[in-house]
Symmetry: C2
Subunit: 239 residues, 2 copies
């Protein structure tokens, strides 16, 4: 069966985990930085703890306990706690800022840039990430991600899975929600996009949480496309 994707105008991408390997990148970057400073830290646990603080921090914004706050600032709040917890002491403000900006220096998965370049020929390709605009722009320059547009939760002052993020993307491209396809490695993101009328593409990222995680990688029949990586997605979307 061939599916007709001609009505789709824009692909919007989750970024952390879907396009870039945040865990591997943080571990590698921090390990090199820590080694130069003579620190002894379990950087895998550090990266996992940092990411674990991410959803609860955004939930505080979504519940209205915090005003609109960029991910850079939320990452820093979590980092300040982690520095105590992991006994990383006596950092200068510049060092803390450098560490916090590791999220701007995340590396694409090996297939990402190749797949995006193919998809860009036929579709508008844009981020739709909870990362803030400057983080996404810096990351794109760092990793060579060829976005046509950078949309962020910051654009709409609403974190995914709020409706405003998904519907805001369709409005930004002046198209109907079903002319936008959300691309993500996380089913919860796609179920939310689906609920608001977007098309959906699941991209399997088996190593997002390390080699031994038990992530759900099964095809989901209700998604428009299930793909093994970005190059497979490009092939399945006729690029």
């Amino acid at each position: 069966m061939t599916t007709d994707f001609s009505h789709i105008k824009a692909l919007v991408f989750d970024v952390f985990g879907t396009c870039v390997d945040f865990r591997g990148s943080i571990i590698k970057d921090c390990r090199a930085w820590g080694k130069a400073k003579g620190l002894r830290v379990n950087w895998s646990k550090f990266a996992d703890a940092w990411r674990a603080g991410y959803r609860p921090a955004m939930d505080r914004v979504t519940r209205g306990e915090l005003p609109w706050t960029k991910i850079d600032v939320l990452h820093r709040l979590i980092l300040d706690d982690l520095l105590v917890q992991f006994k990383i002491n006596d950092l200068t403000e510049a060092e803390k800022d450098h560490l916090n900006r590791v999220w701007h220096r995340l590396k694409p998965w090996p297939d990402t840039v190749k797949g995006l370049r193919r998809l860009k020929k036929r579709y508008i390709i844009s981020t739709l990430s909870n990362g803030n605009t400057s983080l996404l722009v810096n990351m794109a320059k760092f990793g060579g991600l060829p976005w046509d547009c950078v949309l962020s939760a910051e654009t709409f002052h609403h974190y995914k899975p709020d409706a405003e993020a998904y519907l805001g993307a369709a409005d930004a491209f002046s198209v109907r929600p079903d002319q936008v396809m959300m691309v993500a490695a996380h089913k919860h993101d796609l179920f939310a996009a689906q609920k608001h009328g977007l098309k959906t593409a699941f991209v399997r990222r088996p190593h997002e949480h390390g080699r031994n995680s038990n992530k759900d990688l099964a095809d989901e029949p209700s998604f428009t496309v299930n793909a093994d990586d970005m190059v497979d997605l490009a092939a399945k979307l006729g690029c």
Copy 2:
């Protein structure tokens, strides 16, 4: 005298007239379209009249007479009047929409893409245009404009020269206003940017309004840079 631009992180560009030749593009596109339809219209006057309606339409939004309205919609309101005025009758809705989207099909000035590619190596390059997001994204794909980010008045729901547009750009890139340089062919845009603390680059576009206009092309000493085109700007910014 060499000026140090190392503190500048992002260049934000006016687009209509500064990066693309809207008048020449509209005349050429509409003339070819009109010829195929057997229409006799003075397309130069038509293009000038369309552009003349632009500022008054935005001013209605700025004064609060209209709620936030995208340029595509404002262009269409003006177009509907022009079709009566220029006696262009019996168009289908699809034809009117095609005509209105000529603003998505504007061609870059000959130096624009070359200059932007050079500037992109050292700086974040972004639009900061009153054009809406989808217009800017479609235009970038049409003309090969290599933006790192697409910021629009639509991003901030404020048309330039409102402060929110200029300060919003600095906030989006998480930098101070003086770390952003506004690039424009229009001095009023640059004076507004300057007032809100941004650096400024004037790019001369002598033919923006045709060959016989008396546009002010003189260097303005209060601007950070005055340049002859985008390639000259790249050279002057050390790229």
